[in-house]
Symmetry: C2
Subunit: 77 residues, 2 copies
């Protein structure tokens, strides 16, 4: 399963964790010059960095992103 972040939901999210995820995603968007603005798929390896940012274990990172409503749901619209 790929880690696909919903950038629309990320912009609407509030709180310190959402802010940190926003900052991490911005760095990747700028490195790529990827301004599609809807979704951003990151590397499996990035879960390690996100876990450190969110203060969770690597295996809790995807559930935490899901709880925050930040994972892209392809069938949700």
């Amino acid at each position: 399963r790929k880690v696909v972040i919903d950038l629309v939901k990320l912009r609407e999210a509030e709180g310190p964790e959402a802010e940190m995820v926003t900052r991490y995603m911005s760095i990747i968007q700028v490195k790529r010059q990827d301004f599609n603005g809807r979704v951003l798929t990151i590397r499996r390896d990035d879960l390690q960095a996100l876990a450190a940012i969110l203060g969770s274990g690597v295996e809790e990172t995807i559930p935490r992103l899901d709880e925050l409503g930040l994972l892209f749901q392809p069938d949700a619209d």
Copy 2:
């Protein structure tokens, strides 16, 4: 500088090195489901694997790909 392979030129190229580069690119294309068919940009880290395939040092890989005519030239058409 990104390593951008010209897939049109790769299809026209002949010889054992071109065949090995073709095989390596196919693996990446299938992993990504990326069938744009024109260009494929690979990771800097992949130069190590390509060097092993081409039997060159890592620093000679880009010049070798260039000699083989496989690097995408944005202003060439």
